[in-house]
């Protein structure tokens, strides 16, 4: 029995874009998730969080490092063992309009996993299971014969969730699963995900760019920037005591639904833009925009270190208590 349900060790994923242009999408990422917990992964576009999610479930091959699920190395499994793994690790995708095959009925979409893994012995069992799954996610039996384009975004996400649940997974990667939905629908889906987690003892990797939602749903959170995790801690600790300048900048930039607070807070804007993830230099990747940067930040890359209370930061200044 493994210590942690999912363990990611030194994961690297690069994309080769032509001669000598290597995009460091995921560069030495490590973390673990215990069973029944939710791990939040935040960052802006291009930070590599989606690539992490896809590499973990082996939609992409890893270039280096390991992903251990229940002590099994995900990227070394073959044949039958690999197929079994696909039913244990599932994913919910971001775009409700692209994640369902427009040519298939909702019932067929949900039932695909049932067919692939031969989970139902008779046609009747199959149909009943599809109805059951529809109802678990808050839809109804009549919806099984309809096509994706007839549904709203939130309803399509529910179909995506039902599809993932059909194969009885233990671990689900929610890749921006609610980002494309309206606010009131987001709340419904978040509630659904939480309810399902309790009911089926699921473990989630929750990838998002909306800090408030991640704060609400995750037990632990990591912040990514340009392919690296730059801060990681238990959620409350991270949001109450952010240390890395990027994290504080991110939290300062995110607007809150509180006009008095918004009008009173100083507008600290992060300068510049995210540099290119192609062939990055071996220095602190945030140094070019960091108000606390010192010469040593441009000479070496800071490692992720525990600064107490299981709060990890990758920043020279922070590690020495200067921030």
């Amino acid at each position: 029995m493994a210590d942690h349900l999912l363990e990611v060790k030194g994961l690297k994923k690069y994309f080769r874009l032509g001669k000598n242009q290597v995009l460091h999408a995921v560069d030495d990422v490590s973390f673990y998730i215990d069973e029944g917990k939710t791990f939040g992964l935040v960052g802006e576009s291009g930070c590599g969080k989606t690539t992490v999610g896809r590499t973990i479930i082996r939609l992409y091959d890893a270039d280096d490092g390991q992903v251990l699920f229940d002590s099994m190395d995900v990227h070394k499994l073959k044949g039958k063992e690999y197929k079994q793994l696909t039913s244990k690790m599932q994913m919910i995708f971001q775009d409700p309009y692209a994640s369902l095959d427009p040519r298939k009925t909702v019932g067929a979409i949900i039932g695909e996993g049932l067919k692939i893994h031969k989970l139902c012995k008779t046609k009747q069992e199959y149909t009943e299971r599809i109805y059951e799954l529809l109802e678990i996610v808050g839809l109804s039996r009549e919806h099984a014969s309809r096509f994706p384009h007839e549904f709203s975004g939130g309803q399509r996400q529910r179909v995506g969730i039902a599809r993932a649940l059909a194969v009885n997974p233990k671990f689900i990667v929610c890749d921006e699963a609610i980002s494309a939905l309206d606010v009131s629908i987001q709340a419904q889906i978040i509630n659904l995900l939480v309810e399902l987690q309790e009911k089926f003892k699921l473990t989630y990797l929750f990838i998002a760019h909306d800090l408030n939602v991640v704060r609400h749903i995750s037990d632990d959170t990591a912040v990514m920037y340009l392919g690296k995790i730059i801060e990681k801690a238990e959620t409350g600790e991270l949001f109450d005591n952010p240390v890395h300048p990027y994290t504080t900048g991110l939290l300062a930039a995110a607007p809150e639904a509180d006009p008095d607070y918004e009008k009173s807070r100083p507008h600290m804007l992060m300068s510049g833009e995210v540099p290119s993830p192609i062939n990055p230099a071996p220095v602190c990747r945030f140094a070019s925009r960091c108000p606390y940067a010192r010469p040593r930040c441009m000479e070496a890359e800071p490692e992720l270190k525990n600064i107490g209370n299981n709060h990890y930061v990758a920043c020279f200044q922070a590690q020495e208590g200067w921030i």
Partner: protein, 345 residues
């Protein structure tokens, strides 16, 4: 009373589709004061974009169809303006920026020229003058090295930079009103903060009125002075920002505010059940009734009028009727000291 730059009265607008008529806008009334920022908030399908696109007359008719209502710009009735008349207004008096900058930027033309041509269409100045003003504007919106950037193509800029170019293009002729349709939805949080700050700065400097359309309540809280909340093609509540956030009177507004995570301890959010109605067959009575936890018999029969209940705070809900039971609708709680709130307006 402040001057009203824009006033929309009882606008009705539909689309004719294969399945029938889609009632996209069903009696919308709102106004924008000079120099203020109005945020129109609502979820997808509520009609906020269609309403504003109607002001600029950007929707092809057919399949769109204006069924009724009036639009006034600076007091003048522009409801039945022809496209030719609108072309004189667009760019010069009123401008629009969109979620995707690529929709208003020609990918095959250098950005400098695109902006300069816009000026030349409305003002009789020399090409050199237009170029100068463009370069000045590019600098104002934060594009580094404006002379060099003048000659660049849209694809050579990042998403945030393209948004700045679009803002430059929209404001270069100093229009009285700027419509921003989800201007930062596709941007990262940090870029969004920069763009919102930029719009605010320029607004102060140029005295432009801004209408910002968004579904993001955080953005609203940061930028808006007044807010109009829309649902299913109608305005359900309008008011100043503080009233809407801390003291909402419409159950939809309240439900929306409650469904946002606020760092509380419970893992369940109070969500509004169900989905918005299909405007192909809008329900009789109040369109929010099927999802409303305060729903009363009258709500299912007759649509409530929008009436002003406090200073500048208008609501369309039967709970406002003198005979209706009194409910305290939950709103947001501010981080800022309650003392300060009472000392404010």
């Amino acid at each position: 009373m402040r001057e009203r730059i824009l006033e929309i009265k009882d606008l009705f607008f539909s689309f004719d589709t294969y399945a029938g008529e889609v009632h996209a806008v069903r009696g919308v009334s709102l106004y924008v004061n000079k120099g203020e920022t109005l945020a129109i908030v609502g979820e997808s399908g509520c009609g906020k974009s269609v309403t504003i696109q109607n002001v600029m007359k950007l929707i092809p008719t057919p399949p769109g169809r204006l069924k009724g209502g009036k639009i006034y710009y600076c007091g003048e009735d522009i409801t039945n303006y022809t496209q030719k008349q609108m072309q004189k207004l667009r760019g010069k008096e009123m401008s629009m920026i969109f979620q995707d900058p690529m929709t208003s930027l020609n990918p095959t033309m250098r950005i400098g020229r695109q902006i300069a041509e816009g000026i030349l269409k409305h003002e009789k100045i020399s090409r050199a003058e237009a170029k100068d003003r463009t370069i000045q504007m590019l600098g104002k919106v934060g594009i580094s090295n404006p002379e060099k950037s003048y000659k660049r193509y849209p694809h050579q800029f990042s998403g945030g930079m393209r948004q700045r170019v679009m803002i430059a293009m929209a404001l270069v002729c100093n229009p009285k009103i700027l419509f921003a349709d989800e201007p930062t939805t596709a941007l990262d949080v940090t870029t969004q903060a920069q763009i919102l700050e930029l719009i605010n700065q320029l607004k102060e400097e140029l005295g432009t009125s801004v209408v910002i359309i968004t579904h993001d309540l955080g953005v609203v809280a940061r930028t808006a002075e007044r807010i109009a909340v829309m649902y299913a093609g109608k305005v359900v509540e309008t008011g100043i920002a503080r009233d809407i956030f801390y003291n909402p009177k419409h159950p939809y507004t309240s439900g929306l505010l409650e469904s946002m995570p606020s760092g509380g301890s419970s893992k369940t959010l109070t969500s509004i059940p169900g989905i918005p109605p299909d405007l192909f067959a809008p329900p009789k009575g109040c369109s929010f009734a099927p999802r409303c936890k305060y729903c009363m018999k009258i709500c299912q029969e007759i649509m409530p009028d929008l009436i002003e209940v406090e200073n500048q705070h208008s609501v369309s809900c039967w709970l406002m009727h003198p005979q209706a039971p009194k409910h305290e609708l939950p709103g947001r709680k501010s981080r800022v000291n309650a003392q300060n709130i009472r000392e404010g307006v």
